[in-house]
């Protein structure tokens, strides 16, 4: 029995509060976006932002640098958090995460392949080829896992999880081998990419990410009720009229799209998919109808804030945001683990 279930009674009949809660989170996100846009090396006071009295320099900084960066971090945060929440429902396991089934490591492997084998690349073309590679890598991994579980026919969660672990190990080893073969400069590029950053955010990246992530998020949130039913089990879901195989397929493809796009534009940003849904579940309960949209908003909010900290803490240099989220997320995950399984293992 885990902590979540050790609470006997949940404090609020939350679903009735769905609209106000989401509105509140949305307002918070909007406010954070505005504040964050005003922070940086070139100062843009909020008052100037609101009265639209900006110098040319300020305007240029905002439209070309800060706005795409802030929007991209929001999209990536939402994508990762919702993917995490959806995976947890899919696997019926509150500890599942897109990283766990190997999507992120598959993407990393593809990027390593491009960096090490494609020779020196430069400029915008480099950025695009890396993004594209990450995307293809993530999607291939997902299809591979899907294929494996399809052979087995049962789409059982443990089978998928074990296949994911195997693929994780394999692509980790392959990436390691490539790092071993690479020269100093390639190694540096590889290392920085796996740390995750929004440093290179440009409008095309924002548009590509948005066009992939937003429809996928919409589709996932639309299936929230069916995902609740899926938590009872595959057979039980079918008995209640949910075509569980089709739903699982849909969720896998949508999360692959989200994670692939996120990894493609920002590298590996860990733990968002795990921590955000947990925070929502602890405070608002496990109902996916609230969990998925709330995770999207909170994920966006947290990654936007984390990225702001990452780019201002050691300014003018930058901290990779992936390191920051892992620094915060790692201990949180451990705390969760001890709290959830501590009682069971007698710790």
């Amino acid at each position: 029995m885990n902590t979540l279930s050790r609470q006997l009674i949940r404090p609020l009949p939350v679903l009735g509060l769905r609209i106000p809660v989401l509105a509140l989170l949305g307002l918070l996100l909007l406010f954070a976006l505005l504040v964050v846009i005003s922070i940086g090396a070139v100062s843009v006071p909020l008052s100037a932002l609101f009265s639209a009295q900006l110098s040319d320099q300020q305007l240029a900084v905002i439209s070309a640098i800060r706005l795409p960066r802030v929007l991209l971090s929001a999209i990536v945060g939402a994508a990762l958090a919702v993917s995490g929440a959806a995976m947890q429902s899919l696997f019926r396991n509150p500890l599942a995460d897109p990283g766990v089934i190997g999507i992120a490591s598959g993407a990393a492997l593809a990027v390593a392949l491009v960096i090490v084998l494609a020779g020196p690349l430069s400029g915008v073309f480099a950025l695009y080829s890396l993004s594209f590679a990450a995307f293809v890598g993530g999607l291939m991994t997902c299809l591979l896992i899907f294929l494996f579980t399809g052979i087995n026919g049962s789409f059982s969660a443990s089978y998928m999880l074990l296949a994911g672990i195997a693929i994780n190990t394999l692509s980790g080893a392959a990436t390691g081998l490539l790092s071993y073969l690479s020269d100093d400069q390639q190694l540096r590029a590889l290392t920085f990419w796996t740390m995750g950053s929004f440093g290179g955010a440009l409008w095309p990246g924002v548009i590509v990410a948005a066009t992939i992530v937003l429809p996928a998020l919409f589709l996932l949130i639309r299936n929230a009720r069916a995902l609740n039913i899926l938590l009872l089990g595959n057979e039980e879901a079918r008995q209640l009229g949910v075509d569980s195989k089709r739903l699982q397929r849909r969720v896998i493809i949508c999360t692959a799209l989200c994670v692939g796009a996120a990894v493609a534009v920002s590298g590996i940003i860990g733990f968002v998919g795990l921590v955000v849904p947990h925070l929502i579940r602890l405070t608002l309960g496990p109902d996916n109808r609230l969990l998925l949209p709330a995770s999207a908003l909170l994920g966006a909010l947290l990654v936007v804030l984390a990225d702001t900290v990452a780019r201002t803490l050691v300014s003018p240099a930058e901290l990779p945001v992936g390191i920051l989220t892992s620094l915060i997320g790692g201990p949180f995950f451990l705390w969760l683990l001890v709290k959830q399984y501590g009682g069971r293992m007698g710790l």
Binding site: M1, S5, I9, Q239, L240, G285
Partner: protein, 250 residues
């Protein structure tokens, strides 16, 4: 009304069900009994459409189950599996509301809330409605899951109810109460009820029909009193006669 004609089911080389023909009638409670591994759960799962038999056909109200649309079936047929693990902190009310999935567009309408209340009251679990499901005891969980399945087919005519050991975790009082409830529902709504259980006493008392299984085949089927005659039990379970028939004085 459910009719199974010559169904067979197996996994790999293992034959689990072999040429089984049964018929379940509306308004009756049919018990499935048999030793462990006799194929009771597989038969129940085939009849409820959860598993597809390798051979043979099953007819649900005269229509072949194979082509029956999932949504229609979900309003006509409730299934309670043996154990359902749920690791997420849904409340009892939310869980039973999931049984209304075939009917509602979110948010839940007043009618559905009423059905959830009735279903929970019928298994004496309304007082648990705000509790978090995984924190309940085994017996409480079983009653709440039963309420979810009852809510799923509440007030539907000609519906079917499949229960796999619904009283396994229940105390003596609830065992009898639940069977009385099931019998009442079968009478009131012409419900076809099929239930796996292990206690011949309960079966004799509350079930109209019985199917006794042995090694994937039907050993005997028909009225409970005849099927569960001591010589049948003795033969199928391979137990001495003095183990059958209730209390053995110490």
């Amino acid at each position: 009304m459910i009719t199974a004609k010559h169904i067979a089911y197996g996994v790999g080389d293992t034959q689990i069900l072999d040429d089984v023909c049964v018929s379940l009638k509306p308004g009756t409670v049919t018990a499935i009994l048999g030793p462990n591994g006799a194929g009771k759960s597989s038969l129940l799962k085939c009849l409820s459409g959860t598993l597809s038999p390798c051979r043979g056909d099953i007819y649900f109200n005269g229509v072949n189950l194979q082509g029956y649309p999932l949504e229609d079936l979900s309003r006509r047929r409730g299934v309670l599996s043996q154990s359902i693990a749920l690791h997420f902190p849904f409340t009892v009310f939310e869980l039973v509301m999931m049984g209304r999935y075939p009917y509602i567009d979110s948010p839940a309408s007043q009618d559905d809330k009423q059905v959830v209340q009735w279903a929970l009251e019928s298994v004496d679990a309304w007082s648990l409605k705000d509790r978090v499901f995984p924190s309940l005891s085994g017996g409480e969980q079983q009653r709440v899951q039963l309420a979810r399945v009852l809510g799923q087919i509440w007030a539907q005519q000609q519906a079917c109810l499949f229960l796999d050991e619904p009283t396994a975790a229940l105390d003596l009082k609830y065992q009898h109460q639940i069977f009385q409830l099931i019998g009442q529902l079968a009478d009131d709504y012409a419900l076809t009820v099929c239930v796996i259980l292990h206690d011949p006493q309960l079966a004799r008392r509350y079930c109209d029909q019985a199917i006794l299984m042995q090694q994937g085949q039907v050993f005997a089927a028909g009225s409970t009193a005849r099927v569960l005659a001591p010589e049948n039990i003795e033969c199928v379970y391979e137990v001495p006669p003095d183990w059958i028939g209730g209390w053995v004085p110490l």
